[in-house]
C-alpha cells in the first residue's frame, strides 16, 4: 500500500510533511530516535450459544503512539484523536524523556519494499454480516450432529482489519493492511448422567472469508471440538511424575513457545534476567532440534509484512541442531546489544510500547515416522492437544496444559487421560528430545500470546516428537 492511498492520508488528511513535523516535535528535547505508530482498527464478532445467535458486535478504534528513545530510556505517549494538535501534544509529552539540544532537519521518509504475505482483496471484516453469521450457525449444527452426547455448543467468529503506519526518524515509512479472522467452537458432552467434558477447536489466519467456506470449514472445527469432548468422556486420571512424553504435531508446538521462545526475546537477555542469557553458541537442546521463528509465512496468524516498528519480518533461526543461535530483537534491544533488528518488534495497539515478540515459532521436521515414534514407547503419555502455557523467564520453568492426551502402553495409544499440566525447564527440556517426526504441522491459527499485559496473535508448530523425560502433573 502506498502512503498517498492510505486511510491516514485520504481520510485523516495526514501528509508527509505532517509526519516530519511530528517527528521533529518528538525530538525537540533531544533523543536518539523517534517513531510514530498510527492505527485504525475495525473489529467484529458474532457468537452463538444454545443454537441462538446471542451476540453480534462491531467497533472502531484509532489512535497514534509517539515514542522517543534516548539511550536506554523510552518516552511514550498516545492519542486516540488524530487531530494535528493532539498528535503534537503527544509528541511533546513523549519528548520529555530526553534532555538535550533538539534535533532539526528533515527525516526524508522512504517507503521501502515490503512483503505481500496476505494479498486479501476483500477482508472478512468488509463482507456482509449475513454471510458471516452463517459460519456460527453451521458450527452449532455440525457439533450437535456429531454425537448425541453433545448437549451444549458455543461458537464464536471474530475478525478484524487493522491499518497501520509507522514513520521513524531513521526515515522508515511503512504501511500495512492486516486482516485477521478466527473461528472458535466449544462443545460439552456427557453420558450416563456423569460430569460433562469439554472440547475446543478453532482456527483462522490472515485470510479471506472463503477460507472458512472452502478450506477450514465450520464443520471441521465443530467436528474437532465435539470429537475432543466425546473422547474425554472415558478419560482416566493422568499419571503424576516423570515419564516419556510424545507430542503430536501442530498446536503442541506451544512447548517451543514457552520453553525457548520467550526466553530468547532480546529484552530479557539484554537485562540478563533470562535463563538463556549469555548462552548463545551453547547446546540447549538435542541435536535433532532446529527451531525457527518465521514471520514471513503466507496468510498465517502470526505473520506480518512489517513489524510494528516498520521493519520487514524475517525467518530467524533460534536453535540450530541443538545449539542456541540468536535472540528475537526489536529496535531498542538491538541498538543496545549492537545487533540488528530481527523484525520482532510488536505491540498490541497504539497505546502500547513495542517489545520483542514471537511470530510463528516451530521446530523443523526430522526423519522419524510418527507411528514409529509411538511404537518405541513402552509406557508414557501422548499429548494431542493443549490449552495454554506459561513460563517463568528467569528460572526457565514452564508449564503447559494437555487438553487431549492418551496413555501410551506397549507402543500403542490406549486410554484418554484427563487434563494434566506438564512442567519442564527451558534450557534443559529439549535436551531429552530423542526422536523428531517427519510430519511438521503448523497450528490452525488460534494462538494469542500475552507478555507484560500486551496480547498479540502468534502461531506455533511442531512435528511429532519424543521427549524421554518430562514431569506430568497428574490429576489426583
Amino acid at each position: 500500500m502506498r502512503f498517498s492511498e492510505s486511510i491516514f492520508a485520504t481520510r485523516f488528511g495526514i501528509g508527509r510533511g505532517d509526519l516530519e513535523n511530528y517527528l521533529g516535535e518528538a525530538l525537540s528535547q533531544g533523543g536518539d530516535y523517534a517513531d510514530l505508530y498510527f492505527e485504525y482498527l475495525l473489529t467484529s464478532s458474532i457468537g452463538i450459544d444454545e443454537s441462538m445467535v446471542k451476540s453480534a458486535a462491531q467497533g472502531v478504534s484509532m489512535g497514534v503512539g509517539v515514542r522517543v528513545i534516548a539511550g536506554e530510556r523510552t518516552g511514550y505517549a498516545y492519542s486516540d484523536d488524530l487531530a494535528p494538535e493532539k498528535i503534537r501534544k503527544a509528541a511533546r509529552v513523549a519528548a520529555h524523556i530526553a534532555a538535550g539540544p533538539g534535533r532539526t532537519g528533515s527525516f526524508d521518509l522512504n517507503e521501502g519494499v515490503a512483503h505481500n504475505l496476505y494479498p486479501v482483496l476483500t477482508a472478512p471484516t468488509e463482507t456482509a454480516f449475513s454471510e458471516r453469521v452463517e459460519l456460527v450457525k453451521r458450527a452449532d449444527r455440525a457439533a450437535r450432529a456429531y454425537d448425541p452426547r453433545v448437549f451444549q455448543v458455543q461458537a464464536m467468529y471474530a475478525d478484524n482489519l487493522r491499518y497501520t503506519m509507522v514513520a521513524t526518524s531513521d526515515g522508515v515509512l511503512a504501511l500495512d493492511r492486516q486482516p485477521l479472522a478466527r473461528m472458535s467452537v466449544w462443545a460439552l458432552a456427557r453420558q450416563n448422567g456423569e460430569a460433562p467434558q469439554r472440547g475446543h477447536s478453532g482456527g483462522g489466519g490472515r485470510v479471506e472469508l472463503g477460507y472458512f467456506l472452502n478450506q477450514k470449514t465450520p464443520e471441521h472445527f465443530a467436528g474437532e471440538a465435539a470429537r475432543e469432548a466425546v473422547a474425554m468422556l472415558d478419560a482416566v486420571d493422568a499419571p503424576a511424575g516423570e515419564t516419556t512424553v510424545v507430542l503430536g504435531p501442530g498446536w503442541p508446538g506451544i512447548l517451543l513457545h514457552e520453553a525457548v521462545g520467550h526466553g530468547l526475546e532480546a529484552d530479557f537477555n539484554r537485562k540478563g534476567v533470562s535463563a538463556f542469557s549469555g548462552r548463545i553458541g551453547q547446546k540447549v537442546a538435542s541435536e535433532l532440534c532446529t527451531v525457527v521463528d518465521d514471520g514471513t509465512l503466507s496468510g498465517r496468524r502470526g505473520s506480518l509484512n512489517v513489524d510494528d516498528e516498520g521493519q520487514p519480518t524475517r525467518r530467524n533461526v533460534l536453535i540450530e541442531n541443538g545449539v542456541l543461535r540468536g535472540y528475537l530483537q526489536d529496535r531498542l534491544s538491538s541498538t543496545l546489544m549492537h545487533a540488528e533488528s530481527t523484525g520482532s518488534g510488536r505491540r498490541e495497539s497504539y497505546a502500547h510500547i513495542p517489545m520483542p515478540r514471537m511470530t510463528n515459532t516451530f521446530m523443523l521436521a526430522g526423519e522419524s515416522d510418527p507411528e514409529e515414534i509411538v511404537r518405541s514407547v513402552p509406557k508414557g503419555l501422548y499429548c494431542a492437544n493443549f490449552g495454554g502455557g506459561q513460563v517463568d523467564i528467569t528460572s526457565g520453568n514452564f508449564v503447559f496444559s494437555a487438553s487431549e492426551s492418551y496413555l501410551i502402553e506397549d507402543g500403542k495409544l490406549t486410554r484418554p487421560v484427563r487434563n494434566a499440566t506438564l512442567i519442564g525447564n527451558g534450557p534443559e527440556a529439549l535436551k531429552y528430545v530423542s526422536m523428531v517426526g517427519n510430519d511438521l504441522r503448523l497450528d490452525e491459527g488460534i494462538g494469542t500470546c500475552g507478555k507484560e499485559g500486551q496480547s498479540v496473535p502468534v502461531g506455533v508448530g511442531i512435528p511429532t516428537i519424543k521427549i524421554d523425560r518430562m514431569t506430568v502433573g497428574g490429576t489426583a
Binding site: T43, S45, S51, V53, K54, S55, A56, A57, Q58, G59, V60, S61, M62, G63, R73, T74, G75, Y76, A77, S79, D80, V93, I97, F129, S130, V133, F151, Q154, L188, P196, Q197, R198, A238, A240, G241, E242, K271, G272, G387, G388, Q390, V391, D392, I393, T394, S395, N397, V399, F400, S401, R418, N419, A420, I423, G424, T471, G473, G474, T475, A476
Partner: protein, 450 residues
C-alpha cells in the same frame, strides 16, 4: 471533556438508538488517563502518559440484540455507532431471556464509596519516579545476592465511568488507583530467581512505604534460590495469600452464572449443598468503601451488593447478571460487567474468603511434611470437571518449618475434593486487589516432581 458532557452524550446516544428503531438501549462511556514510570537498575527506563475514551452501545430490537463501540466521538463516529448496533440486531436470534433489568432492580448506592482520590491529579511525575527508584534501591541494597532487577514500576489511572439506559437509569462515578511494584532478581551460583511485590491503593497517600515493598520483594526472591525438585508424593499443601487468592479466581468461574446455566461448572445444580469444609465462607461484596471491586452500580445499572456465595461450606448463591438470573429463574446479584463492546458478562465485586484465627506460622507448624506454595503458573484448571493441575514453586515444610525452596513441580487435585478438604484458614486476610484470601491449607494434594 467534562463528565457532565459525557453523561449528556450517553443519554443522547440512548435517545438516538430509540429513534433509529431500537426498543431498548444501554450506553457505556469510559474515559481515563494513565501514567506509568519504569525504573531499572536505578535509571529511568520508560515514561508513558496518555488519555483515552470510548463509547459502547447495546440495543434491543424486541428480543434481538446488537452492539457497537467506538473511540471516535465525532458526530460522524456517533452516527456510525448507532447505525452499526441497529444493523447488527437484524442478524441475531430472538432470545426470550434477553433484555434489560427490570426498572425496580436498577439503582445506585448512595454515599461516598471512596473510589477516587484527588491526590493523584496533582502529584508530580518526579515523586512517582522517586518512589519507584526508592523501592528498587531498597531491594538492591537488601542483600548482595540481589544483583539484578527487572525494575520497579509506578502506575496510576484516573477514570470516569458513565452508564445510561432507556429504562431511565443514568449514573456515573469517578475512580482512581495507583500501584508500585518491584521485581528483583536474586542470584547465587547457577541459581537465578525472580519474584515481585507490590502495593496498590486508590490514592498515593495510601500506598505502603516503597522501602518496605522493595525489601519484601527482595526477601521473596532470595528465599526461592537453590530450589530443588522433590519426589512425586501426596502431602498437605498450604497456599500463601498470594496463591490462595487464585483459588478464589477458580471458584469465581465456577459460580459464574453463565457457566452455571450452560452446565460448564462443577458447582452447577449444587445450590444449598455442602461443597466445602465448614471453614469456608466466601463473600462477594461490591459495597466496601475504597476497595478495588467496589462500585455504586453494576454494568447494567443495578446497585452493587453483598452476596454470601458459600456459608460455612454450603453453596448459597451464584453470581449473576440479569440474563443469567432469568435463565436460572433467579434474581440478579448486581454482578453485570462489561467493557465497551458486547452483551454484559459477569464480574465480581470484592470476592474474599473470610479469615480464620490461626497465623500462617501456626498452620505450617502443624505439618510434618508438606508444600507451602508461593507461585503458581499455567492454566490447568478445568471448572467443568473441577480438575486442577498447575505448575508450582514454593518452600518445603519439614517438621513444622519452612525448610528449603522447591520449584519445577506441579500440584494436582480436583476442586470438588480440595474445597471439602480445606482444613485451615489463616487470619491474614488483606486486599491487594479485588480478590483476597488468607493463608489456606488443603489436607492433601498430589505434588508431581521427580
Amino acid at each position: 471533556m467534562s463528565g457532565n458532557h459525557l453523561s449528556l452524550l450517553a443519554r443522547d446516544l440512548v435517545e438516538r438508538a430509540l429513534k433509529a428503531g431500537a426498543s431498548d438501549a444501554e450506553c457505556t462511556i469510559a474515559e481515563g488517563e494513565e501514567f506509568t514510570a519504569n525504573v531499572r537498575m536505578r535509571e529511568v527506563e520508560s515514561l508513558k502518559e496518555a488519555g483515552s475514551r470510548g463509547a459502547g452501545l447495546r440495543i434491543m430490537k424486541g428480543r434481538k440484540t446488537g452492539s457497537s463501540y467506538t473511540s471516535d466521538l465525532s458526530r460522524e463516529g456517533i452516527e456510525k455507532l448507532v447505525a452499526s448496533a441497529v444493523e447488527l440486531a437484524e442478524i441475531t436470534t430472538e432470545d426470550p431471556h434477553a433484555g434489560l433489568p427490570d426498572p425496580e432492580e436498577m439503582g445506585s448506592i448512595d454515599g461516598d464509596l471512596k473510589l477516587y482520590s484527588a491526590d493523584l491529579e496533582t502529584l508530580e511525575p518526579e515523586r512517582k519516579i522517586a518512589s519507584a527508584r526508592c523501592a528498587e534501591e531498597a531491594a538492591l541494597a537488601f542483600d548482595p545476592r540481589i544483583s539484578n532487577s527487572e525494575g520497579a514500576s509506578f502506575s496510576n489511572h484516573v477514570g470516569r465511568h458513565i452508564f445510561a439506559n432507556s429504562r431511565g437509569f443514568a449514573g456515573e462515578y469517578r475512580s482512581s488507583y495507583c500501584s508500585l511494584s518491584v521485581s528483583p532478581v536474586a542470584r547465587e551460583g547457577e541459581s537465578m530467581e525472580r519474584d515481585y511485590w507490590y502495593t496498590i491503593d486508590r490514592g498515593f497517600a495510601g500506598l505502603e512505604p516503597p522501602e518496605e515493598v522493595g525489601r519484601t520483594a527482595a526477601r521473596r526472591a532470595l528465599r526461592r534460590l537453590n530450589a530443588v525438585k522433590v519426589p512425586t508424593q501426596k502431602v498437605p499443601v498450604v497456599f500463601e495469600p498470594r496463591t490462595a487468592r487464585t483459588l478464589l479466581d477458580n471458584l469465581f468461574e465456577a459460580v459464574h452464572g453463565m457457566s452455571v446455566y450452560r452446565h460448564e461448572s462443577f458447582l452447577a445444580g449444587k445450590l444449598g449443598e455442602k461443597v466445602a469444609s465448614e471453614h469456608v465462607t466466601v463473600i462477594d461484596d461490591g459495597t466496601i468503601p475504597g476497595l478495588f471491586g467496589t462500585s455504586p452500580f453494576d454494568d447494567e445499572g443495578v446497585p452493587s451488593r453483598r452476596t454470601v456465595v458459600i456459608d460455612r461450606g454450603v453453596l448459597k448463591s451464584y453470581l449473576l447478571n440479569s440474563y443469567a438470573a432469568r435463565k436460572l429463574g433467579l434474581k440478579t446479584t448486581g454482578n453485570a460487567a462489561r467493557g465497551l463492546a458486547g452483551n454484559a458478562g459477569i464480574g465480581h465485586g470484592n470476592l474474599y474468603l473470610e479469615k480464620g484465627v490461626q497465623t500462617a506460622e501456626q498452620i505450617v507448624a502443624g505439618i510434618s511434611n508438606g508444600f507451602y506454595v508461593t507461585e503458581l503458573i499455567g492454566f490447568g484448571v478445568n471448572v467443568v470437571t473441577g480438575d486442577y493441575s498447575r505448575g508450582a514453586a514454593g518452600l518445603w515444610i519439614r517438621d513444622g518449618e519452612l525448610a528449603f525452596a522447591v520449584s519445577e513441580v506441579t500440584i494436582a487435585g480436583n476442586l470438588k475434593d480440595m474445597l471439602p478438604n480445606l482444613e485451615a484458614v489463616g487470619a491474614d486476610l488483606e486486599f491487594r486487589g479485588s480478590v483476597a484470601s488468607p493463608t489456606l491449607k488443603i489436607g492433601e494434594m498430589t505434588v508431581g516432581g521427580k
